[in-house]
């Protein structure tokens, strides 16, 4: 049973600790510092958040997506075929992102996150998980003004993002998380989803995890187990029905167990965490579990995220004692 995160980590701490990244971006926008200086601060903050995850006891960390404005535009800005439009709400959160608009043929130009991975890996004592926004979610959260159908766009993105997966594999990422929260909102698209992900994963040997959040997989189970990933990550907070759903068929994969609420500051008790792990342990044996927050930690204040991770690690330690 290993602990991990689902990607983003809060970018700035609260007073009295300095909000260095926020200040650097503001100074960059006012042209008081150059891009080199901004990159240097991003590097420092990346090291800092890796350190925080390690100190909390997380086994497989992420780079915190410190350089990412959001999951969508980090890729859209670096691929051909996109322009970036106005602010739009990220699912049902009170968080916004600039909506990518597909105005031409989408095309992968060059490695997007490989250097980020290399940097993080070089500064982390623990394995670093690389992150890729999946083709379905990237398409669903963009506006399509070019392709004849949504399906064509999804498949085109799958083809192009395969290049990114290959580049991360080549960079040595031990695990790549493919983030696909949007499929939970339009489950009837599963055949397209499957086709796209199979295409994206073709010929890849790297360990890949498929993560969803903000809902349950009612209607997608057990088909989701047929997808070419070793691990399926699920949200058991907003998708509490997942406990029951996954008990309906043998779970022939590893499970990313999202049990610490990444959208509310209320702290889980160690007992609650142990209980959540116990509940799924009948269906998935504990050695096949990755325990992680329910979604991206960026929706929480930094200190709360840190405390929650520590609590989660303590819960996992106790669960290991209780459940063996």
């Amino acid at each position: 049973m290993l602990t991990t995160v689902v990607g983003s980590y809060p970018k700035i701490p609260n007073r009295p600790r300095p909000a260095r990244l926020r200040a650097a971006i503001a100074r960059f926008e006012r042209k008081e510092i150059g891009e080199d200086e901004l990159r240097r601060v991003e590097d420092e903050v990346t090291v800092e958040v890796i350190q925080e995850q390690v100190e909390a006891g997380i086994d497989i960390v992420s780079d915190g997506q410190i350089r990412w404005e959001d999951d969508q535009t980090y890729f859209a800005r670096r691929m051909d075929g996109f322009t970036i439009d106005g602010l739009i709400r990220y699912f049902d959160t009170n968080t916004y992102y600039r909506q990518p608009v597909v105005t031409g043929a989408v095309q992968w130009r060059e490695p997007i996150a490989a250097n980020d991975y290399r940097f993080a890996a070089a500064h982390s004592p623990r394995p670093v998980k690389a992150l890729v926004t999946g083709p379905y979610t990237l398409a669903a959260l963009s506006a399509n003004e070019h392709y004849g159908s949504f399906g064509e766009l999804v498949l085109a993105l799958a083809r192009e993002l395969r290049q990114e997966m290959l580049s991360l594999e080549k960079a040595g990422a031990p695990i790549i998380q493919v983030s696909e929260p949007a499929i939970l909102k339009r489950k009837e698209d599963f055949p397209l989803f499957r086709q796209a992900l199979e295409q994206m994963m073709e010929g890849l040997a790297v360990e890949a995890h498929l993560y969803t959040w903000f809902g349950d997989i009612e209607g997608l189970f057990p088909q989701i187990l047929e997808l070419p990933f070793s691990t399926i990550g699920l949200d058991f907070v907003m998708g509490s029905a997942n406990y029951e759903i996954i008990s309906r068929a043998p779970f022939a994969k590893k499970l990313g167990l999202g049990i610490v609420d990444a959208r509310n500051t209320r702290l889980e008790t160690v007992e609650q965490i142990v209980e959540c792990i116990r509940r799924v342990s009948d269906v998935v044996s504990v050695e096949n579990l990755y325990v992680n927050p329910s979604s991206r930690l960026e929706h929480l204040p930094r200190e709360v995220a840190e405390t929650k991770l520590k609590r989660m690690v303590e819960g996992v330690r106790q669960a290991q004692e209780v459940l063996g």
Binding site: I12, A26, G86, L87, R89, N94, R98
Partner: protein, 326 residues
């Protein structure tokens, strides 16, 4: 008495630079509450003056004393809410997201003093402005309640008490905004229940503003919300929303957003007139109000003024074409 196409705005106005500076000095402890409050009143007076000068019919006080529409109330509900750490909203923007930490209850008037001050400056009606119970809860963390429903219904009592105080003070329009409402179609019923509690027994005209969402999915419920007037954004979405009104019978009044507040560009007179005419295709002028899509706080003072001037001019010309009095 007007025969229709009354003009108003959604609520917030841009803060003058001196107020923005004073707010940051206040947060750093460099100036006191009194000094800040005096500047808030000064800015409010400027907002009222601008609206009178532009010629709007129903005024707002401009929300000069509010930073965030949820945090403003959360700070005053100090016995049951706390202000949490910084959370990113978008880009490099962060806000302190409130936390519900105890049973929600009204502690005393939160908006009456500023409303009274603003209303004292003008003969035109000034709207009482409240954040709706659903949005208050949805945009806060919750460490106290076991269900969103309980939290929303308790918050609705708080907002109701405040609405009653505004009405007692003389407010004839009370707006209860629910910008979070359209994000979860499955909770529209809860939004409606919260608003029903908040507006219960009010004689003032009640209204609610909504934006950013998939209205089509919840339209049947939106037209039945327990308010007299629905305020919707339309310019930003090319007036698609109006098509929904065609197929539905409903008796509410509608405030139609004809200015896109997310762009600096000032709409042309013709564009705005066209927007008003499109509204008139589905609603009689007596039930149609004209306003911007959303709060103006993201625009500069000059942009806001220029946009509103075009809007008022467009309304005047359409009124003239229809032969109705303003």
């Amino acid at each position: 008495m007007s025969e229709g196409l009354l003009t108003t705005t959604v609520g917030s106005f841009p803060k003058p630079d001196y107020l923005t500076r004073a707010r940051s000095q206040f947060s750093l402890g460099k100036i006191g509450r009194e000094e800040l409050a005096a500047l808030e009143r000064q800015a409010t007076a400027e907002v009222i003056r601008l609206q009178e000068e532009v010629g709007l019919d129903i005024l707002v006080h401009g929300e000069m004393e509010r930073g965030d529409m949820v945090a403003y109330f959360a700070e005053l509900l100090s016995e049951s809410m706390a202000i949490g750490g910084l959370v990113r909203s978008y880009g490099n923007r962060y806000y302190r997201k409130p936390i519900i930490i105890g049973k929600l209850h009204w502690q005393g008037p939160m908006t009456v003093e500023m409303w009274r001050y603003a209303q004292g400056l003008t003969d035109k009606p000034v709207k009482g402005m409240l954040t709706g119970p659903y949005t208050m809860v949805d945009w806060s963390f919750d460490e106290y309640y076991d269900s969103r429903r309980e939290a929303v219904l308790d918050m609705a009592q708080v907002i109701h008490q405040e609405a009653v105080e505004l009405e007692k003070a003389g407010a004839s329009y009370i707006q209860v905004d629910e910008p979070a409402a359209s994000t979860r179609p499955e909770e529209m019923e809860l939004v409606a229940q919260g608003l029903a509690v908040a507006t219960e027994g009010l004689k003032a005209k009640t209204m609610t503003h909504m934006c950013y969402g998939d209205f089509a999915a919840v339209f049947d419920q939106i037209v039945r919300l327990p308010v007299d007037l629905l305020d919707i954004e339309a310019a930003n979405s090319d007036y698609h929303l109006l098509d929904l009104f065609r197929g539905h019978r409903f008796d509410k009044e509608v405030a139609l957003g004809v200015l896109d507040v997310h762009t600096r560009r000032v709409e042309t007179l013709e564009e705005v007139k066209e927007g008003i005419r499109r509204g008139l295709e589905v609603l009689p002028p007596q039930r149609l109000y004209i306003d911007p899509d959303c709060g103006l706080k993201t625009r500069t003072w000059e942009e806001a003024a220029a946009k509103l001037r075009v809007m008022v001019q467009a309304v005047r010309e359409v009124r003239r074409e229809l032969g109705i009095e303003g």
